[in-house]
Amino acid sequence: MVRYVIKKILFMLLSLFVLASATFFLMKAIPGNPFQSEKNIPPAIQQMLYERYGFDQPVWKQYLNYMGNLLQLDLGTSMKQQYVTVETVIKNGFGYSLQLGVLAILVSIVVGVLLGLVAALNHRKFLDGFTIFIAVLGVSIPNFVVASALQYIFGVQLRWFNVTGLYEPLDYVLPVIALSFLPTAFIARLTRSSMLEVLSADYIKTARSKGLSGRVILVKHALRNAILPVVTYVGPMTANIITGSVIVEQIFGIGGLGKDFVSSITNRDYTLIMGLTLFYAVILMIARLITDIAYGFVDPRIKLTRGKGGS
């Protein structure tokens, strides 16, 4: 177990190293540099800018510096916002994104599992069909369509909620719905199909013939096993929520990390792009690690001694 986790962490660090190097050299491969676009800069100032960001040094030295700074968790300074470090940007923005993300994860798990349960218990009846329909819709409608439709209907037309911003508790409703739309649909589908499988298993028949109450069978025997596939979805769900947050924050005008990411790209603020990319990558990899470890805990049939190895 411990060996498995250590192996996974080492692997994660290797991946991060590859990503960091790739981003560094990709950014260096862009012709010109970020300061050439600003016109009429006196050569002396240009020289100072170069020195400040280390552009006067050979590339390998810049790379070593960059990696050295990364080891000390220093992600550098923004190139477009003066004296703003990437760290500050993350500190200011991540709070909002985290709140929204955690709320969205909770909502998707609760609503998704419930929907899946209801569907499986009403197999081939109206509620089942209805849930499948919602689930397919949820997977198919892009979240920016969902977000802007919600904003237009409930914010602009009905005026039930504020159109933008995140100041009072009610403001969380629309962004969280938009963020959790896809994961909810996915979890509902997963829960439904694994619940159907579990319900026809022999141990459920045994439990029933022992005369256990329907509720005990459902919660203690069926749901516990049916929930396993949902655990594997935690990793991809985090990825979904991160891409979703980029969109949702932009649409609802929330000053979270996703919005910073979009503006860093439009401004071509390279250090900020690199820093935020790495930050997102770390979050995603941690989510995957948690998934892997959690899966071993909930399902004793999985032995964590060997990697899953692809297929």
Partner: protein
Amino acid sequence: MSDQTLKKEDFAKLNRSEQPKELVVRESISAWKDAWIRLKENKLAMISLVILVIIALFAIFAQMMTPYDYKTNDLSSTNLPPSTEHWFGTDALGRDMFERTWMGTGISLQVGLYAALVDLALGVIIGGIMGYYGGKVDEILNRFCEIMYSIPSMLVVILLIVVLEPSMFTIVLALSITGWINMAWIVRGQVMQLKNQEYVLAARTIGASTSRIMFKHLIPNAMGPIIVTITMTVPSAIFAEAFLSFLGLGVQSPAASLGTLINDALKAMTVYPWRMLFPAILISLTMLCFNIFGDGLRDALDPKMKK
């Protein structure tokens, strides 16, 4: 039985043509035909297929249906609502939204299809090599895939496009740099399963070359999962492209994809909501149909996988 003694006449030669050895009562059905019959029974999947064909036809022929095109500005008729003149209205530069919407649909579909095709080519070749040769080759390639896979793909795609300048070519390139891994793993799994079957051993015994075994025996038999994966890749590539457009990294003006159209419409949504409506409906409908059709295809090609 034992009482009877066998006489020489009992061993008379039967005329061969008298009794056919086995009678084929029904027309023989190939696996593909069988799958097609199952698919035809799935009404939702067939409806999705028809809708997809209609959408594709509109995307191809829409420019012949109106006197306008997607890029001509007409500043005397900007921001018009839908009318008999401009069926989907016009945008801020007076460009006809009907033309732009279908043009965008075409580009989104192309991005999806090309990305799926590149995934197919790379995935089949690399996955095939991994599965067929196994051993050290498989180990090394698999490690490589795992590292690539552990890097969040959307971030790689964004970084690449920031560097490469957005165009349809770079978007497809960036999407398939990470996209092929999934396909490679599916092909690898299939090939590993199939390569020890008798018919492959038989082919090898009579001296068939590796490429012949690969493309005549292994790949055709792994086609079911491959096709399903392709159908599922298309909607996710369409979504990925739309997401890139949202970051301003999509197809550049005057060309447009559904994603760029939606992104443009968002900025003026409170005033001109109809500009949002048609691209949003089309992107959702396309992805919905691909998803339903893909589900149906999976059920039809592999009844065992049916959920």
